[in-house]
């Protein structure tokens, strides 16, 4: 048995919705779910943001809105319920993290082990800019190009052919 056989997909081929998870995952048929409805626009926005930033744990690499997996469906419904009961974003996130760990967060939490992740790009930018400044400062005055002799120029013209005018 090759549980991965359907994972064949070409490079960059986002073979998403079809990809059944390799481990057997929730539910033969999920009951049809009505679209979620909310009491306020604010709650709707909170919900939409959350289902885009939370990861579907059974899937390859999808958030809850992308996934058609029954578990994703259950989680969407659970989150909608919580939001309609007045939960705010952090409460929903805490609820999910308590059950599935930091893995469910597409926005990694800021803590000891993720400082490098969050501040790494800033550090790299600073290093890059420092190097840039250093080079710009040192290069201000250097000029090292050697002129060609007439003889060399003659030969060059022969090599490269006539390409007098088009230098952009």
């Amino acid at each position: 048995m090759r549980p991965w056989h359907w994972l064949h997909a070409p490079l960059l081929a986002l073979a998403v919705a079809l990809l059944l998870p390799a481990l057997t995952v929730a539910g033969p048929t999920a009951p049809p779910s009505e679209p979620m409805s909310f009491d306020s626009e604010l709650q709707e926005q909170r919900y939409q943001k959350l289902i885009r930033e939370l990861r579907c744990t059974v899937c390859q690499n999808q958030n809850l809105i992308e996934s058609n997996a029954p578990l994703a469906n259950d989680l969407r419904r659970q989150i909608a319920l919580m939001i309609n009961d007045g939960a705010d974003t952090d409460e929903v996130i805490d609820y999910m993290v308590a059950r599935y760990g930091d893995f469910v967060l597409f926005r990694p939490p800021m803590k000891g082990i993720t400082y490098l992740l969050w501040f790494g790009p800033v550090a790299m930018l600073l290093i890059g800019l420092a190097a840039l400044g250093n080079i710009l400062w040192r290069r201000r005055t250097q000029v090292t190009s050697e002129p060609l002799s007439t003889d060399e120029e003659e030969r060059l013209r022969r090599i490269l052919g006539d390409r007098g005018q088009d230098k952009t």
Binding site: A15, P32, N61, T114, L117, L125, R155, R158, I159, K167
Partner: protein
Amino acid sequence: MIAELGLFALILALLLAIAQGTLPLIGAARKDAALMAVGRSAAYGQLVFIGIAYAMLTYAFVTDDFSIAYVANNSNSLLPVQYKITAVWGGHEGSLLLWVLILGLWSAAVATFSRSLPREVLARVLGVMGLVAIGFIGFTLFTSSPFERLIPAAMEGRDLNPMLQDPGLIIHPPMLYMGYVGFSVAFAFAIAALIGGRLDAAWARWSRPWTAVAWAFLTVGIGLGSWWAYYVLGWGGWWFWDPVENASFMPWLMGTALLHSLAVTEKRGGFKNWTVMLAILTFSLVLLAAFLVRSGVLTSVHAFAVDPDRGLYLLAFMAVVVAGSLTLFAWRAGKVGLGGGFGLVSRESALLTNNVLLVVSAAAVLLGTLYPLLLDAFGLGKISVGPPYFEAVFLPLMLPLLLLLGFGPRLRWKQDSPTEQLWRLRWIFGASLVFGMIWPLFVGSWSFLAGIGAFLGLWIIGSSLKDLVDRLRLRRESRQTLGIRVRRLGRSYVGMQFAHIGVAVVVIGITFVLGYDDERDVRMAVGETVEVGGYGFRLDSLDQVQGPNFDAEQATVSVFLDGQLMTTLTPQMRNYFSQEQPMAHTSLHRGFFRDLYVNMGEELPGNAWVMRVYYKPFMNWVWAGAILMAVGGFLAASDRRYRVRVRREDEATDEDAKLAAKDAVKANDSGAEPNPAG
């Protein structure tokens, strides 16, 4: 028989690759003309044999030869014939064969179009490409042969994943691979220059058009992938910051940096070490992409089947190639001159800043992509790094880059006056700021992101056009017709402006679609209407329809604008005969200012469905911008100065190369650059 022929051809191709990867290099070292000449014929021969292998596999697909395991896994007798042809690259093994074929194409192209190169240089370039080919053909033969037999043969094939049965997938992988593999040419030129001990302006001039073409293909490839995902996945997403997408985006960013750095090396003889470093890094990221996609170290929606042997092989190959190159670099670099000096404000400094920002962006994407792996490797837990992270990191890096993009191309080489340029662009800057901030009001409620996006987009377009006009005006007194004057600008320059305007169009598209899309998941019964983005969508009927290898439930949705019928959309929920899961098929109405997007979700009791009804403003600007960028790349590569081929090839020597290098620097020092400010 077909499979064995294909395998045999592939083995012959490997032998030729070994010849191509060794003899010309030895010849170049010994100054042996005969050995050096082997490179070209070996490259052609290799292409022929890979072509035969590829044709055999295609033939097996078209004739439904399910005695070949790969065909049985990726095709089906009911599959329409155009998808049988594209199914060749529908899985790991076949896509690798396509990769190898494209590598052969690039090798042969170098052999054909670089006849004017000095013998040693051409020999070394082809030699390095031969070495790369050995790695990939070997990988195909030893770990991933598409010609393996299935005994007994299958009665019917498993079918190509329905997601891949789409016109977008016919051209996406070849374009993407043309880009990926194309960077091997820039890499080969860099390594050849390091081996020859000569990094100079001539080297930059030779490798620049190849780099531009590869970059343009990669741009098209990434754009197509995104375009395809947008309508196939059915929820309106078009960029996911998935590891595999990042894998293609990193070489693109690094390749963009390389393209700009090459300009300095060619024009001013500067940044040589840096440019050669970028050429190596860009290709290293291509190898890394191949590794990430094909080894299974990261979870991705588009990863290939997992096989540890393949991962190990690719890792070893990448280690040898990259470590070898970096060692060569460490050994050889530093022996080159610095090139012309330049002031704090100059074209050089602008391009260098561009490079810093692009390289840091690529590094940030790399960090985000590999960070979960890093934590896991040290046993520190599992985390996910997704779009919120990449957006937070990426946007701040792009802002200064886009702002700079308006100035950079106008700056003079060596030294320019910042106040003067600012002064000349003051109207453009002010107007784009004002119109940029106002524009979003016509699309929806004002948002900062959209305002900034519109401002930067208009700023880039405005300053590019102004520069174009200035340069044309400069030649006015020559009394030439406008056509001639445009031609005189050179395709390199026009291509650059195309690409920059393309960037602007992408930026406007992205910020507007992010800011103003309207996405509704709604319950719709027959006869019901919903309002999304100012359009009315009415579900008229639900019918059963029949496709070549599926049957489907089809919804007919009429779209109204101000009470007028505008169009009719027909999304489907397809049941492919070979699959268990149904698959939604999106229906789209594309437009210049917006897309209307309807998709079927789940069936509900009472003749109703959950429908995904989306309004995506400015969506097509994203792809249109990518096309402009690619057109720019192709134009730049076709510039006249890259097409000089005057002498017989055997005349050229290393001596000539050195001369050409000095000339390039000198020509620019002498102010051959047309200067709009002058």
